[in-house]
């Protein structure tokens, strides 16, 4: 009865029509010590399947947590650096400030204008030496007298 059943299952098995449950039944049958002599050749096959099921992978897997560099943060850093640069630059700018009180402002302006005129005057004072030159040039006016006389001479010649 059991043998009959097994034979039927084997036929189905060879046609690939057995369910997993039926295959389990076959495996159980053939893992017995004694099987029907005419089915002896199936034994190593099922034994092989069962043995192979137990083989395990023993090598360990080196899982590395890959650091993904986030380029988003580069832009953030760049903006920060630019902002810092602008801030420092505006601080370095030598700002003279403004004067709010008009009277003080007027005084300040006149003071600085006075300073300008004073230094301007010292500049012009050195130019007075040019007057000497004028004097020298004026003495050359006598040369005109010579020219006059020569003119007279030439006229008489003509």
């Amino acid at each position: 009865m059991v043998l009959n059943n097994i034979e039927k299952l084997l036929e189905k098995y060879e046609n690939g029509e057995t369910s997993l449950k039926e295959e389990q039944q076959l495996k159980n049958y053939f893992s017995q010590e004694t099987v029907a002599p005419h089915l002896e050749m199936y034994k190593p096959m099922f034994a092989y399947f069962l043995v192979n099921q137990q083989e395990q992978f023993t090598k360990d897997i080196p899982l590395k947590t890959k650091k993904v560099f986030n380029y988003k943060w580069i832009s953030v850093a760049a903006v920060a650096v630019i902002m810092l640069g602008v801030y420092l630059k505006s601080n370095l700018n030598n700002d003279l400030g403004t004067i709010n009180d008009p009277e003080i402002a007027f005084n300040e302006v006149s003071k600085s204008l006075e300073m300008i005129s004073k230094s301007f005057n010292t500049g012009t004072s050195t130019l007075q030496y040019l007057d000497e030159y004028d004097k020298g040039a004026s003495t050359l006016g006598y040369l005109n007298e010579i020219e006059n006389t020569t003119n007279i001479i030439f006229k008489t010649n003509q």
Partner: protein, 169 residues
Amino acid sequence: MTQKEFLHIVMPFKDKVFRLAKRLLISTEEAEDATQEVLLKLWNHKEKMEDYKNVEAFSMTMTKNFCFDRLKSKQSQNLKIVHSNYEDNNTSLQKQVELNDSVNWVAKIIEDLPEQQKMVIQLRDIEEYDLDEIAKMLDMNNTAVRVTLSRARKTIREKLTNTHNYGIK
């Protein structure tokens, strides 16, 4: 996703990945490398893992493709994978030297099968997957899987019968 969560997902099927890789690549070392590679690939794309409907089936497909790539590069390099790992340390089997020998025969027979049949046998008879799942993993349709499975099983049985009866009949 933390390492712990990842391992929690991967642990149940890492052995299956390994065994499939070994079925295709035969050498244990090669299979270990392949498994490592597949799992690392999964880890590196862990953000996408939530999108996969079935991580296990996806990994099996990945393993299949990876192993095919390996085999292709092996062939082009004209390298042969050397292996000597037929030993199965099952106590009940070691009692019977004769049977142990025939188990090795099964290994050899399966090794000689075409790759498609190898994979189907591995996934069905060893890992006990549903036919639909296998179809999805191998990118085949259900009937094709059934036919391949049937052919593989018949071949194994025929060859086993031959060896079994060798010298007797």
